[in-house]
């Protein structure tokens, strides 16, 4: 059984409540100690420590209860966790009332802590439950004040001088005015925070619904693209192979003029095939959850790639310098797609660097990850286009002068692959001066392993 989003949210908030109670317990104990021994104010120290102990027991109980709920009965988790929260807040209120009793009752401004519980209740519980908890708090506080007034409970005066002539706890007019205003304030507060909370919750729900809907639509779109591109690829394969029969003059010679046109058609088909292949790979990657990973030598891979693209650089008299840190060794990932990424970036650099230019490929070991940088002194990218470089179908405005080959998919595929490996890719560039593509790839492997 999978927990719903709202269940997870509630469980997390309950855990948050339990965590914060530990802090509150420490705060109570420290505050009591300081009040008694530093400020020399008369509080019932031992009794308050006992209440602290009670809170520890309560918190442990709430914690184990929650764990039990998560393990045993996830089907009714939402309702059961709410019981747990109600229990926590009610016992907190009782403990707080006890602490107040042992530290001066109505004289102690600490009574404001009731408000915390009301706010917490309005965040975590329903409107009805919040009003119930608020009423419980007010009844408990009211009873405390009343019993101290009537003498049923002892009043522990916190004044340094026990025989002060005006004991607030015995002043009926003061108590009733004070208590009345407190009740009024609390209900207004709960009403306000409750309505804000409700609005936030409903916004959160509608946002998450919208997000799910978007994800679903995106998936449908991707499946559609996959199907269409796959069909296109089938036709393209037939066209290209048939054209190749003519361009390779398998059926005999073609006259020069005709050959020119056939070659044009053939080249365009190659480009289109390439485009469709990349689009398929990108869409496939977006749709599939699984991604096969294996351990491979990144060092070897990088050197192989540089070796295999050297010809392309030499054809344009570009100096391709590579500097791969020998400390780089194995990583866990999909070797084929990493190869695709690196060669794509280097081939791009070659494509957009003019003759006699220079390209540096630097790979450095950063313990947990590897940093790969490809720096060229090519045509560069316009500053305002930098943020779109990895977008699908985006082509830089200065690309057309150099090549017609760009599909605008290569770099989005690259980005997708890097993201799949939990890596990062970014680009820095200056128009006319060159570009620098940087990639970080986590090794996902324990050093010394294998």
């Amino acid at each position: 059984m999978i927990l719903l989003r709202k269940d997870i949210r509630l469980v997390k908030r309950t855990q948050w409540l339990i965590r914060h109670r530990w802090m509150a317990i420490c705060a109570v104990i420290i505050a009591t100690y300081i009040t008694k021994h530093v400020l020399d104010i008369n509080v019932q120290e031992i009794a308050i420590y006992c209440v602290g102990g009670f809170l520890v027991v309560e918190n442990l109980f709430a914690l184990f209860w929650l764990k039990y709920l998560l393990r045993c009965c996830p089907e009714n988790i939402y309702r059961n966790v709410k019981y747990n929260i109600n229990f926590q807040i009610s016992t907190d209120l009782i403990a707080l009332t006890a602490i107040l009793h042992f530290s001066g009752g109505i004289e102690n401004p600490f009574f404001l802590v009731y408000i915390f519980h009301m706010v917490i209740a309005s965040i975590l519980l329903s409107e009805f439950e919040t009003y119930l908890q608020t009423t419980l708090a007010l009844v408990l506080f009211g009873l405390l004040v009343y019993f101290e007034y009537s003498g049923t409970l002892a009043h522990y005066c916190i004044g340094k001088n026990q025989s002060i002539d005006h004991d607030l706890s015995k002043d009926a007019i003061y108590i009733s005015r004070f208590y009345g205003i407190f009740v009024f304030t609390c209900y207004i507060l709960v009403y306000l925070s409750g309505s804000i909370g409700k609005r936030l919750r409903s916004q959160e729900d509608s946002l998450s619904k919208a997000l799910n809907k978007l994800k679903h639509h995106d998936e449908i779109k991707n499946e559609y693209v996959l199907r269409v591109t796959h069909d296109i690829k089938g036709h393209l394969a037939a066209i290209q192979t048939n054209l190749s029969v003519v361009t390779k003059k398998i059926m005999g010679p073609v006259d020069e003029k005709q050959e020119e046109f056939i070659n044009r058609a053939y080249k365009r088909t190659l480009k289109l095939t390439n485009f469709v292949k990349n689009l398929l790979a990108l869409t496939q990657m977006r749709l599939s959850d699984k991604f096969e990973k294996e351990v491979f030598s990144l060092n070897k891979l990088l050197n192989n790639i540089v070796e295999s693209v050297k010809v392309n650089a030499e054809n344009k008299s570009i100096k391709l310098i590579s500097n791969v840190d020998p400390a780089i060794d194995k990583m866990l990932g999909n070797e084929l797609s990493i190869e695709e990424v690196i060669s794509n970036i280097i081939l791009n650099a070659i494509k957009y660097t003019l003759e006699n230019g220079e390209i540096d490929v630097v790979a450095s070991d950063k313990k947990k990850h590897v940093l790969i940088e490809v720096v060229d002194n090519g045509i560069g990218i316009h500053e305002d286009e930098l943020s779109q470089v990895f977008d699908e179908f985006f082509r830089g405005s200065n690309v057309k002068q150099i090549t017609e080959d760009s599909t605008g998919i290569g770099l989005s595929l690259v980005k997708q692959i890097i993201t799949r490996h939990n890596g990062e890719i970014w680009v820095e560039s200056k128009i006319g001066e060159g570009s620098k593509f940087s990639i970080t790839l986590p090794k996902n492997i324990e050093t010394g392993n294998k």
Partner: protein, 132 residues
Amino acid sequence: MGNKKILIVDDDLDLTVAIKAILENKNYKVITAINKEEGWEKIKIEKPDLLILDVMMDTSHEGFEMAREIRKESEYKDIPILMLTSISEVTGVNFSAAAADPDWLPADEYLDKPVEPDELLEQVQNLLSGEE
């Protein structure tokens, strides 16, 4: 080259015609079939030296099925098989890696469509010379 006999099983007639032309140009004798059923008939009658199978025909893995069936027949199990794929992106199968596992994918070589004449001829030649 010799007059080796090659059977192409592929439902895309346009592609088959082109592949046939490329192979016949190198003096191979080429027979074609458009599905598994016809493929089996031609295997039995013509006893080809090499099979070129398309993965996707009537079903998305008919070529695989046929290759597995061939591997089970003692009479034909040694015929080299070249599998034409255009679905590596769709199925997510890495064919060249899978080729190392003959039980799972029973072909000897894999060639991604579109078929380049030089590549095709090289593969065919390798498979036929390996057979001897």
